[in-house]
């Protein structure tokens, strides 16, 4: 066999795949052609708009764009490309909100360490995983200290936080806090104790039956009523409470699915060895159930991450809130597409990452079990 025939074999495989999947019948062929034309048209239009015909910091005359009237498309009717200058101008706000600019290094510090805090949870075969996991537990305190301030660092109130910082804070903290809560809820829902069980069922079903937006309003208005006088949690904390409760209910259901997949024999074997309920749960059931439940858990995380953008209705400036504030500014108004495409892109990067991770896990689970 020569390299050549090997190559032609490959090409043959290629052709037969195309014939089989794209041109198997005339309906299929027609759909393929229409789809190709559609993708081509939309793709070229978008690329021309977003990149080839777009202004970044300067317009087609080479001037620095400092307000919307200097965007190429607002100067010449022949231009239609995006005017990304608004993103440059508002970059700090998108990333940090109204965080004092000379303190922004603190936020960057927290951003940079975030992957290190998460990586240990994501990959179970990571070298030195134990130390990464230690760091995962230290990180929230470190991050809180860096962001909010304390001894040695000036205090930056959460009303100054915004943009990606608020989005990530709500997403990551909400998921992080919801996780242990959801385990308790899922176990409680399967408990034999009727009161515990019904409390968990009512909680989960109530939260799942209510839109997040309602929970956000409720937390915003009602939380102060439940707390003693003088304790007045700020808006961000109220939103965090709502987001955490919301996420915990959905995660609990994902975990319950995992619990249900554990054969009864596992529990019986553990019991027959003398392990008590908590030992059985911790050593036998949860490790197996969580492994099965991770893909659906990640799906709920993707949902939550996007839903954090709802906090704008209770007056918080997450990414979307900052975007809308930018559009409300007279110097930049009307650049809707640029702002929304940019925000979508940021959300997409995070959600796509989570989605890929979930796929990777599903594949891994399949091979692990065979």
């Amino acid at each position: 066999m020569t390299a050549f025939s090997n190559q032609s074999l490959m090409r043959n495989k290629y052709y037969s795949w195309i014939i089989k999947n794209l041109f198997s019948s005339w309906v299929n062929s027609l759909m393929t052609v229409v789809a190709i034309i559609f993708i081509y048209e939309v793709g070229t239009f978008f690329l021309n708009w977003a990149i080839f015909g777009a202004d970044f910091r300067t317009n087609f005359r080479g001037e620095l764009i400092t307000d919307r009237t200097l965007c190429s498309k607002n100067i010449s009717p022949g231009e239609f490309g995006a005017c990304w200058a608004i993103i440059y101008a508002r970059w700090d706000q998108f990333m940090y909100g109204f965080y004092p600019i000379e303190q922004v290094w603190r936020v960057n510090f927290v951003y940079v360490l975030l992957p290190l805090a998460i990586i240990g949870i994501l990959f179970d075969k990571l070298p030195f995983r134990k130390y990464f996991i230690y760091f995962t537990f230290i990180y929230p305190f470190l991050a809180y200290f860096m962001l909010y301030g304390g001894p040695g660092l000036s205090v930056v109130g959460t009303n100054k936080w915004g943009g990606l910082l608020v989005t990530l804070f709500l997403g990551v903290t909400g998921i992080g806090l919801a996780f242990p809560l959801s385990i308790v809820l899922a176990l409680g829902r399967r408990s034999k104790m009727p009161i515990v069980k019904s409390l968990c069922v009512v909680f989960i079903e109530f939260i799942r039956g209510v839109p997040l937006i309602t929970l956000l309003f409720t937390a915003n208005v009602m939380l102060p009523l439940f707390l003693p006088d003088g304790v007045n949690p700020d808006n961000l904390l109220r939103a965090l409470v709502a987001v955490t409760l919301f996420q915990s209910a959905y995660m609990a259901e994902a975990i319950r699915g995992g619990l249900q997949a554990i054969p009864r024999g596992q529990i019986e074997a553990a019991q027959s060895l003398g392990l008590n309920y908590w030992q059985t749960t911790r050593k036998i059931i949860l490790p197996q159930a969580l492994k099965i439940a991770i893909p659906p858990i990640v799906n709920t995380c993707i949902g939550l991450f996007k839903d954090t953008s709802l906090v704008l209705i209770i007056g918080l400036f997450d990414l979307l809130g900052i975007g809308r504030a930018a559009l409300a500014d007279m110097t930049w108004t009307k650049l809707y597409y640029e702002v929304y495409v940019f925000i979508s892109l940021v959300f997409f990067i995070f959600c796509f990452g989570m989605s890929r991770y979930s796929l990777y896990l599903e594949k891994k689970l399949k091979t692990d079990n065979s």
């Binding site: 553990a270 003398g274 030992q279």
Partner: protein, 245 residues
Amino acid sequence: MERVIQLEKVNKWYDDFHVLKDIDLNVQKGQKIVVCGPSGSGKSTMIRCINRLEAHQKGQIVVHGTELTNDLKNIDMIRKNVGMVFQQFNLFPHLSVIDNISLAPIWVKKMPKKEAEDIAMSYLEKVKIPEQAQKFPGQLSGGQQQRVAIARSLAMNPDIMLFDEPTSALDPEMIKEVLDVMIQLAEEGMTMLVVTHEMGFAKTVADQMIFMDEGKIVEQATPDEFFNNPKSDRTKLFLSQILNH
């Protein structure tokens, strides 16, 4: 002789289905009892009541002088002394063989990890697969898995072992390796209550045969009497079916 298991007029229902009807059973220390009977006759249910995987509703079960009630302390005490081997092995798939075996000594007996692993290894040698210690259950054959399950039970140093059809999920060529381990265990004087249809095994080790049907103990006899001179017609029928097939 010391009486280690005592069932007196034990009754159990699943809703309104009467699974166990007035079961009386005495097991002496060191005795080997083989239980057989048609499918659905309540064999599993009976032995699962002895370590409280199932709760009985009427009658009395006493193990080592401790009565089984809802008292968790009693249940824990009994489970520590009673080992069980299941038809489906029920190994923990997320733990290596050695971790499967050392788990209970570490967590239930609070044994130091090193000591528990030494004990685990010694039992793995006893069931003749020490070289599989670091593997996971999914990587072993059925016969090997069941032997690990036996080692896992033995590592708690129980003085009674319950077996619920330990070889019925195995391919024929693996049955012997598991039965050999059980025979060895019997020779060492373990008290054993075995649900099985392996009549060769029964003839070799059993002191008493028990035949169950429809939730009742229909016949209890020595193997000699049981196989050569069964009293009840149902036993005869059952034996003719099982020995001819």
